[in-house]
Every structure is written in structure tokens, then in C-alpha cells.
């Protein structure tokens, strides 16, 4: 196991809500990312999955330093970049690029493709390029990049609107590749595309990763596409990671009820299996991130929630096989696995110490008498 390329430790991102005419006063905070820790090794892909408002995009933007962290640390190749200034960030930004969800909105409509893809090259002054030769070098590199992502080199002089959605996303990827990055943060890169085109772009990302030894953080709103690119998948709910596991295992063995609900909610394109399938549709909608619930944040919608879930925030329990889940009443784990579980160091600081004790906790029955005195830290205690 090599040293991680990217480490995020207890990252908190909050946005103040301000009111007032003359003097702004803070009336509340949006808890977008609440104490998230993760690590990503070189050449690997971490999928980050969650529904709107779960903080997945904010997490990616915080790693790219597009929004500032409120607390916690982000380390890239061993270097703390959490508070790095503009000048210190420039070499980092070369190695850490981002691809956005909406290729229409993230490409300047008044620039030609050559200018768009070449812009990072002109800004970053690639090593060893003399000033006179630079434009020619940039041009050659742009053509090479366009071909690399499956576009034609002749397209350099076209404008973004002359391309289809899938091709525009390829342009966005070519731009991200321009500076030879080590890590690319992909924020829903295929959500805006048609299914047949999604598969093309996912396969392209796969090929690029193999050839260029890239690492990806792949943000997605559901579990279907992310499976094909991820080595590991983290599921987020209301600013917290609730489960994180090797990619394939998550689909056959979801531990957190929210992950199970996400899987159940995806309609299967097979009418007979769909009819036969027993589905547990989660009721209601995610609570407001300005005022998240105490304890486990999913408890207000969780069919298994009990008294302890409101009182103690569950830590991320590390089950055998590198599977982490933050739930007091886990699904699909055996008594042995529960006995072997340990509190993961990636757990939020505010989480309790208590690990799940029993396998099939009947929902509704509070585990009274079993609860040890645990630090009942609220989710935002500091």
C-alpha cells in the first residue's frame, strides 16, 4: 500500500447565513460537510454518492480549494493545502484538476476549443518550453489532447455550441488533462448526458486512468454509474459519510439502511424482476442542513431507528474487509463481523464510542439497558 495521494481529515465546510441591513449578523449555518475523513491512493478511484444537498459537490470543491474549509485538513501528496495561498496553490492546481457536471456552463461559449483546452497550458507554463516555441507547443499539445479524448484535431477552431453534450464533456476532460494532473475531481461528469453517451464517457475515463495512472474522485447522485469506475465508494448523507466500502461489496452487502434504500430506489430495467422485487421505499425527504437532526442524521427517515440513534451519533465501525458503516443497527452483518468491528479513525470527532452490539435489532425497540455512557456530542459540537 503506497502512501495516499490525497488525505482528507475531519473536513468541515459551513456556509454562514447572514441577515441584517447595516450590520450583517450570522443567523445560522448551512452544515454542508460535517467532519468527513477519507484517503485516496494513487491510481485509484473513490466514488462519492449521495442525493442533492448531501455535501458531495461541496466536498469535491473543498478538495480543489474552490471553497474554503471551515475546519480540518486536506493533504495532497503529503502536503497540507488546506490554507495554502494562491502562489503555493499554483503547482498543486496543475496536478489536481476538476471536471464539472454541466459542460454547457463550464465552457466559455465565446472561446474556441483550442483556447479552452490550451488555457491551462498557457497559465501553467509547462516546463522546458521556450517562449518563442510555446504557442506552437501548446497548439500541438491541444491537438494531441483532443484526439486522446476521442475528438478530431481539426475541431480546435470550433466553438462549444457546435458540439453535442457528450463531445462537450470530452472537451472538459481534455482541458483537465492538459496539465498532466495526478488527481481529477469529477463532479457528476455524466449526469447531464444521455445513457448511450454516458457509457462512452465512462469508458473514456476508464481508459485514461489506465494509461495515465490518474486518480479520480467521482461524485455521483446515484449508485448505478459510479460502480463502473470506482475502487471504493463512499455514501454521503447530510454532510456525513455513512458508509464506505470496496466498490463491489457495497452492491451485494449494504450495511447502512440509507445505502440499502438508495439501491432499492433505483428501478431495475427488467419488468419481471422489478415486479418480484421487494422494495423498501424510504419515506419523506432529507432534513434541512441548517438544522440537522441530533445523533444519526438519517434517523428521521430510517425504518430501523431507535432511541439511541437520536442520542448518540454512530461512529464509523470498521468491519472486516475494509467496509465502514456508521449505524447503530447495521444490516447484512453477522454476529462475528460485529464482534470483530473496531471504531474507525475516520469517524467524526463528535461520534460516540459505542459500536453496534447486536445483529438484527428489531426496529422500534430501543436498546435500553445496553447503552453505555457515551459522549452524546451533537453533530456540530465543538
Amino acid at each position: 500500500m503506497t502512501a495516499p495521494l490525497l488525505e482528507v481529515e475531519h473536513l468541515v465546510v459551513e456556509f454562514p447565513i447572514k441577515r441584517g441591513v447595516l450590520f450583517d449578523r450570522m443567523v445560522g449555518r448551512v452544515h454542508a460537510v460535517s467532519d468527513v475523513s477519507l484517503a485516496l491512493a494513487e491510481g485509484e478511484t473513490l466514488g462519492v454518492v449521495g442525493e442533492s444537498g448531501c455535501g458531495k459537490t461541496t466536498l469535491a470543491r473543498a478538495i480543489a480549494r474552490l471553497v474554503d474549509a471551515t475546519e480540518g485538513a486536506i493533504r495532497f501528496r503529503g502536503r497540507d493545502i488546506t490554507r495554502a495561498g494562491r502562489r503555493d496553490l499554483q503547482p498543486v492546481r496543475r496536478e489536481l484538476q476538476m471536471v464539472f457536471q454541466d459542460p454547457q456552463a463550464s465552457l466559455n461559449p465565446r472561446k474556441r476549443v483550442g483556447q479552452i483546452v490550451g488555457a491551462p497550458l498557457r497559465l501553467q507554463k509547462p516546463d522546458g518550453a521556450g517562449d518563442g516555441d510555446r504557442e506552437r507547443d501548446v497548439g500541438a499539445r491541444v491537438r494531441e489532447l483532443l484526439e486522446r479524448v476521442g475528438l478530431q484535431a481539426e475541431h480546435v477552431n470550433r466553438f462549444p455550441h457546435e458540439f453535442s453534450g457528450g463531445q462537450r464533456q470530452r472537451i472538459g476532460i481534455a482541458r483537465a488533462l492538459a496539465t498532466q494532473p495526478r488527481l481529477i475531481l469529477l463532479d457528476e461528469p455524466v449526469s447531464a448526458l444521455d445513457v448511450s453517451i454516458q457509457a462512452q464517457v465512462v469508458n473514456l475515463l476508464d481508459d485514461l486512468q489506465d494509461e495515465l495512472r490518474l486518480s479520480y474522485v467521482f461524485v455521483a447522485h446515484d449508485l448505478s454509474v459510479v460502480r463502473h469506475v470506482s475502487d471504493r465508494i463512499a455514501v454521503m448523507y447530510l454532510g456525513k459519510i455513512v458508509e464506505s466500502s470496496p466498490a463491489e461489496e457495497l452492491y451485494v452487502k449494504p450495511i447502512h439502511p440509507y445505502t440499502a434504500a438508495l439501491l432499492d430506489a433505483i428501478p431495475i430495467p427488467d419488468p419481471k424482476e422489478n415486479r418480484a422485487r421487494e422494495r423498501h421505499v424510504v419515506r419523506g425527504e432529507p432534513p434541512n442542513p441548517i438544522d440537522p437532526p441530533s445523533g444519526c442524521r438519517f434517523r428521521t427517515r430510517c425504518p430501523r431507528a431507535s432511541e439511541i440513534c437520536a442520542r448518540v451519533e454512530p461512529p464509523l465501525a470498521a468491519y472486516p474487509g475494509g467496509h465502514l458503516a456508521a449505524c447503530h443497527h447495521p444490516l447484512t452483518v453477522s454476529a462475528e463481523e460485529i464482534a470483530a468491528a473496531t471504531r474507525s479513525p475516520l469517524s467524526p470527532a463528535s461520534a460516540g464510542e459505542q459500536l453496534p452490539a447486536d445483529v438484527s435489532e428489531p426496529p422500534g425497540e430501543g436498546p435500553v439497558g445496553r447503552s453505555e455512557p457515551a459522549p452524546a456530542g451533537g453533530p456540530t459540537a465543538r
Binding site: 442525493e51 442533492s52 453535442s164 453517451i197 438508495l262 430495467p269 419488468p271 421505499v281
Partner: protein
């Protein structure tokens, strides 16, 4: 290709919709025929630009304009919706045929509270007083699963979540007990857990009301969940039509195979590569000669330069498709790695 008859709730016959643009005439819908019965859900499936939304909107006269050109007929209750006067359409719209749009934020009036919006819609077709209409609005909101409906009547659209807004849209569409509901990507903008709730609502409503539903979507998972019959559109034409099971278990057209194959399934082992359909859909201003899927089809051959008619080719009377391959060839060619899909061609330029 059913004859216009009085049995069906809606019969669309050779519908054509074209738009004059700077690039010439864009034939968005090019000879589309289908019918919908009371109490059934017909899904129209296809990707962006295939003409599925234009088809739905044309049925309500929403594509009319100085640059639009129409052809064919769409007979609903003895009235041809394509040729109907604006006045006739206004009476039908909302009362007999209602529509739910993809993005509820742009379809609701942002500066009017939910209650009055619903009441206005109700009073446009029913002779009710203001208070009675508001009471009706509350009932409708409860019926589509909105909690604390009385309070919500006073909410503005921006105060509701996406799922709530879509429920409000559905409530509005149901306000006059329509006999036909056209839902254009009703869950595309929603999260999966909310989508599951809304689809459950659609299933429940169909069981309760006996209305016909046209569900326009790009998502075959959603189709498998709620549809009875399916029409697959590509580049302005229907390429395949059949019952839900026919389409999923005996698909005839290579484009349908491609659609089925390119879905990432969570309930199956993960394939090493996602089977993709290569290339991009053609421009409708200059569609390719012959079969419109030909440039992207790995199974094309000489005959494909001639456009195949939409007809029953596999022996089942109502299972129609537009592909020259014989039924046996189709069964053989659509198997990719034990699943239905398009045989992968190596990276295209």
C-alpha cells in the same frame, strides 16, 4: 399502425412536426403513430432530441408557432388535436388532457402561492367558488402525499423541495380528473429516493382513476417500473413498439438493444466495460439516408440504405419494429456476453 378508431382514448396517426430554422426544416417528429387506451401507461422512450417531448407537447398544442409545420392526426374523443382551433384546445387542455413537466420550478408560477395557483386551474374548468376551489386544492395536495397540505397552500414554489413541487404539479394536473395525463420526464430532476415515491404515486393514481398516461422518459428503469406498453423513438421516428415484456425480453431493433445494454445495472455483476452505443444521434435537419440508426449500427448492411417501414416483423402482431434483419438474425446478434446489448465495436473516431 392502427386505423383511427373510436375504441382508443387517443389515436395518433402519422404525426409530423417540423420547425423552420436557419439550418432548414428540422423534422422533429416524422410520421409517428401510436394509440393510448384508458387505464394504461404508454411509455415513449428515447434520448435527447428524438422527438419524444415534441410529440407530447404537440398533443396539447404547445408547439404551435409561426415556424412550426404539422402533419397527420391525433384523435382524442372525436377531436383532431392537430387541427383543432385554439379555443377547442383550451377547453381540452387541463380538463381532459393534462401535462406534468420535467422541471416543476419553471412550470409553476414563482410569485403566486401554491393554493391560488391550484384554485385558478380548478376554477378555469369547474364552476366553483374561491373557497370551495381552495378546499379542493387542499384535498388534491393530500391525495398526492403532501403532508400538512393546509399550510402548503400558502407556500410559494421556492419554499418547497423538488419532490414537493413535482407532487404539486401532479396535483394540478389531476385537478380536473383528466382522462389523459402526459408526463414528460416527471422524475428526471429528482433524487432516486424521491423518484421512487413519485413513481409509486403514478402507479396508485392509475389504479384509482382509469386515466390513460403517456410517460415520456429516457430511463428504461422507470419504464420497467410503471409502463404497460412502450414506444422507442430515434431521430423523430418510432423504431420499435410493443408491450413492456416484448420490448425488454424480445427487443427487435439494434437501437433498443443498445439502450438496454448501456444501462449500468446495480443488481447484476459488473461488466468489465459498459457497452456503449458509438457515435451521436444525427442532425434532424439532414437525417441520414435510409434507416436513421444506420451510421451508429454495427449490424448495418446494404439494404439499410432504404428506410424500413414500422411493421410487425417478428411474428407478434402488435410488436412493431424498423429493422431489415430477419427475426433469427436479430436473436443471434443481440446477445453480448449473455446479455442483450449492441456488439462492441472498437473505439470509433
Amino acid at each position: 399502425m392502427s386505423e383511427p378508431s373510436t375504441e382508443h382514448l387517443l389515436t395518433v396517426d402519422e404525426l409530423r412536426v417540423g420547425f423552420r430554422t436557419e439550418d432548414g426544416l428540422v423534422q422533429a417528429v416524422d410520421g409517428v403513430s401510436f394509440d393510448v387506451d384508458a387505464g394504461e401507461v404508454l411509455a415513449i422512450v428515447g434520448e435527447s432530441g428524438c422527438g419524444k417531448s415534441v410529440t407530447g407537447m404537440t398533443l396539447l398544442g404547445l408547439t404551435r408557432g409561426p415556424n412550426a409545420r404539422f402533419g397527420g392526426r391525433a384523435v382524442f374523443d372525436g377531436c383532431d388535436l392537430v387541427g383543432a382551433s385554439d379555443e377547442q384546445l383550451r377547453r381540452i387542455r387541463g380538463a381532459e388532457i393534462a401535462m406534468v413537466f420535467q422541471d416543476p420550478m419553471t412550470a409553476l408560477n414563482p410569485v403566486q402561492r401554491i393554493g391560488p395557483q391550484l384554485a385558478e386551474q380548478i376554477r378555469a374548468h369547474d364552476d366553483l367558488g374561491k373557497d370551495a376551489a381552495l378546499e379542493r386544492a387542499r384535498e388534491l395536495l393530500e391525495r398526492v402525499g403532501i403532508p400538512r397540505a393546509r399550510d402548503r397552500l400558502r407556500a410559494y414554489p421556492h419554499e418547497l423541495s423538488g419532490g414537493m413541487r413535482q407532487r404539486t404539479m401532479i396535483a394540478m394536473a389531476l385537478s380536473c380528473d383528466p382522462r389523459l395525463l402526459i408526463a414528460d420526464e416527471p422524475t428526471t430532476a429528482l433524487d432516486v429516493t424521491i423518484q421512487a415515491q413519485i413513481l409509486e404515486e403514478v402507479r396508485r393514481l392509475r389504479a384509482e382513476t382509469d386515466a390513460g398516461v403517456i410517460l415520456i422518459t429516457h430511463d428504461l428503469g422507470v419504464v420497467a417500473d410503471v409502463a404497460d406498453r412502450v414506444v422507442v423513438m430515434y431521430a423523430g421516428q418510432i423504431v420499435e413498439a410493443g408491450t413492456l415484456d416484448e420490448l425488454f425480453y424480445d427487443p427487435q431493433h439494434p437501437y433498443t438493444w443498445g439502450l438496454l445494454g448501456s444501462i449500468a445495472r446495480v443488481d447484476r455483476p459488473r461488466p468489465p466495460r459498459l457497452p456503449a452505443i458509438l457515435g451521436t444521434p444525427p442532425s434532424l435537419a439532414a437525417p441520414p439516408q435510409g434507416c436513421r440508426f444506420r451510421p451508429r449500427c454495427p449490424h448495418r448492411f446494404a439494404q439499410c440504405l432504404e428506410l424500413p417501414a414500422l411493421e410487425a416483423r417478428c411474428g407478434v402482431p402488435d410488436h412493431l419494429d424498423r429493422c431489415w434483419l430477419s427475426a433469427e438474425e436479430k436473436r443471434e446478434k443481440r446477445q453480448v456476453g449473455g446479455q442483450i446489448g449492441l456488439a462492441p465495436e472498437e473505439r470509433a473516431a
